[in-house]
């Protein structure tokens, strides 16, 4: 299943490609013949006004909604109609807009279960406690410890996740996504609901993830995040691509200003 990849991949190579995608909800077309790709190693940002189809796009890519038309290609493989858990195993991890963590479990337990997909945990091994099962448990724990440090929650390791601040929960949810060993990380508003002073820790976390050679795609509203970190930006409006390019180009694009502020500002 897992293909061996050539080590020195060039940055320009397409990691994820979306082709001619449409998604209808009844009569409403949430995504309209969308084409774009994400390159390996970059930070890609998707912006657009409310209701422009950003989260829907994430849900289609990760298999939560089937697309009406079009296809999703990941590492050269068509993953269009796979189930969410299958896509996660292929190497795409995501976070949710409304921060999702297992609120009744501790921080450490949340991270441990994030690595579940990389182990077998069969029934017989579980009951009889074989060597392999112990090895697997150890691997999950090591992964969790490593990530605790990475997302800087070491001191809160035994805190029940529901008691963390919103910002710490965001970091935890990113940590859980990273525990799946992804190639591509989709972040749905990683700084949503977090006050401006706390954003910097999340931004530095995102940069740290990029340094680990994980490709990132993020949805953002806050201009500081949406324009400062990404290498390239895709702008959506009413499910259609308005433009795509470097942050600087995009922010001066007439159509983008029009979509955000209305026609009178675009002049």
């Amino acid at each position: 299943m897992v293909k061996d990849e050539p080590k020195g991949r060039k940055m320009s190579e397409k990691l994820l490609e979306v082709k001619g995608m449409c998604k209808d909800f009844g009569g409403l077309r949430a995504i309209d013949s969308l084409d774009f790709h994400i390159r390996e190693g970059e930070i890609f940002s998707i912006i657009g006004p409310n209701g422009s189809g950003k989260t829907t796009l994430f849900n289609v890519i990760t298999g939560f909604y089937p697309p009406t038309k079009g296809s999703v290609i990941f590492k050269g493989e068509d993953i269009t109609n796979l189930k969410p858990f299958h896509i996660a195993r292929k190497g795409i991890a995501r976070t949710f807009q409304l921060t999702a963590v297992f609120i009744r479990e501790t921080v450490l337990d949340n991270l441990i279960v994030g690595h579940r997909l990389r182990i077998r945990a069969g029934l017989l091994g579980t009951i009889f406690g074989g060597h392999r099962t112990q090895e697997e448990d150890k691997r999950c724990l090591e992964k969790a410890e490593e990530l605790l440090e990475f997302i800087q929650l070491t001191r809160q390791r035994n805190v029940v996740a529901g008691n963390l601040t919103q910002e710490a929960q965001k970091r935890l949810s990113v940590g859980m996504a990273l525990a799946t060993d992804p190639n591509l990380l989709l972040l749905d508003e990683p700084t949503g609901g977090v006050n401006l002073r706390e954003i910097s820790s999340l931004i530095s976390l995102i940069k740290k993830i990029r340094d680990k050679k994980v490709t990132i795609c993020l949805i953002e509203h806050k201009m500081k995040v949406a324009m400062d970190i990404p290498d390239r930006v895709l702008v959506l409006n009413y499910g259609r691509k308005i433009t795509e390019g470097l942050p600087k180009e995009v922010s001066q694009d007439k159509r983008v200003i029009e979509a955000y502020l209305g026609k009178s500002y675009a002049a």
């Binding site: 189930k83 969410p84 279960v113 945990a121 029934l123 579980t126």
Partner: protein
């Protein structure tokens, strides 16, 4: 960390004492009545513990557990009486049959969520009871299945054998079954598999996005729980020796549900406490069946409103309050 380790060893000690106590009871309790009550406690505790896996740990409200108990009991009874199979192979076969029915109902029912799953499984439960009641050619219908023999003796070397004619031997058989059930479910709950189940309970979408197949996890948990329900049913059939369709009724399901809720869902000891406490109370109040059910309902409402974690949850709350006071 240090206090946690200490608490852990105290807990181990309590478990050890309880097991030794349970194993030595027949040496100083000779009353058949008390042993009978304890046997019933163990059977219901087994069924409740298995129900707790799917309901408490995986978060799927399964209202067909009584049906699986009944399927296990009737399968064993019919295999032994109609086909003349020895008890031990019949035990294994009956568990397999129960799991097969679990698969049959689990595959479609687990596609639904929340209350729909509860309603679906409850309908299945009613159907099972109706079928047992009306398929007289196979199950003898309302007359019931009479004269199921006690478990067959296990031959040992040197011409000796373990027989199950005495109530003490039956007590040991059922107690060991209960301990095995607890051990296996404990191991499952405290493993990556158990973590998967609890992840599905916590947030199915999140679990899927982390690469866990919710359907596979739920089905696995469901099948394991039906296996132990079937096992408990077989033990019941062989111990009581008589089966009527009521044993698969949804009242049994709700009784098991009450055990879990009162003891504390999603804890290892909860269903045990609930099953032992309520079985003892109800066996002592045998003559007053109707007020008993009314009282159950009343207690259940109180628990759901005021003590969501059941007795176990209440004790934990008290414990944490007390230790906080000590800390001051």
């Amino acid at each position: 960390m240090k206090t946690a380790a200490k608490l852990f060893s105290i807990r181990n000690l309590i478990v050890l004492i309880l097991i030794v106590f349970a194993l030595t009871i027949p040496f100083y309790v000779t009353s058949r009545f008390i042993l009978h009550i304890l046997i019933m406690c163990c059977i219901w505790a087994m069924a409740a513990t298995s129900m707790n896996l799917i309901m408490g740990y995986t978060g799927q409200v399964n209202l067909a557990h009584g049906a699986f108990f009944g399927i296990g009991a009737y399968s064993a009874g019919l295999l032994i009486l109609k086909l003349g199979i020895n008890f031990w192979p019949a035990l294994i076969l009956a568990c397999a049959i129960t799991v097969f029915f679990g698969l049959l109902i689990g595959l479609p029912a687990l596609r639904t969520k929340g209350s729909y799953f509860a309603i679906g499984t409850m309908c299945f439960n009613v159907i099972v009871t109706v079928i047992i009641d009306s398929w007289e050619g196979l199950t003898e219908g309302a007359r019931g299945l009479l004269g199921i023999p006690k478990p067959a003796p296990i031959p040992l070397p040197f011409g000796t054998e373990i027989t199950f004619t005495s109530i003490t031997a039956n007590y040991y058989l059922i107690l060991v079954s209960l301990l095995l059930t607890i051990l296996i479910i404990y191991r499952i709950v405290h493993s990556m598999m158990g973590r998967t189940f609890m992840a599905i309970r916590g947030n199915e979408e999140l679990a899927e996005s982390l690469g866990m197949s919710a359907m596979r996890g739920k089905l696995l948990s469901f099948l394991i729980s039906t296996f132990f329900a079937g096992w408990a049913g077989v033990l019941y059939a062989a111990y009581i020796g008589f089966l009527s369709p009521e044993i698969s009724d949804y009242h049994v399901t709700f009784e098991l549900l009450t055990f879990c809720m009162i003891g504390g869902l999603g804890t290892m000891v909860g269903p045990l406490i609930g099953a032992f406490m309520l079985t003892i109370i109800s066996e002592l109040l045998h003559g007053v069946a109707v007020p008993r059910l009314v009282a159950y309902g009343f207690v259940l409402i109180l628990i759901i409103i005021f003590l969501r974690g059941g007795i176990t949850g209440g004790v934990r709350m008290l414990w944490s309050r007390m230790s906080r006071k000590e800390g001051r």
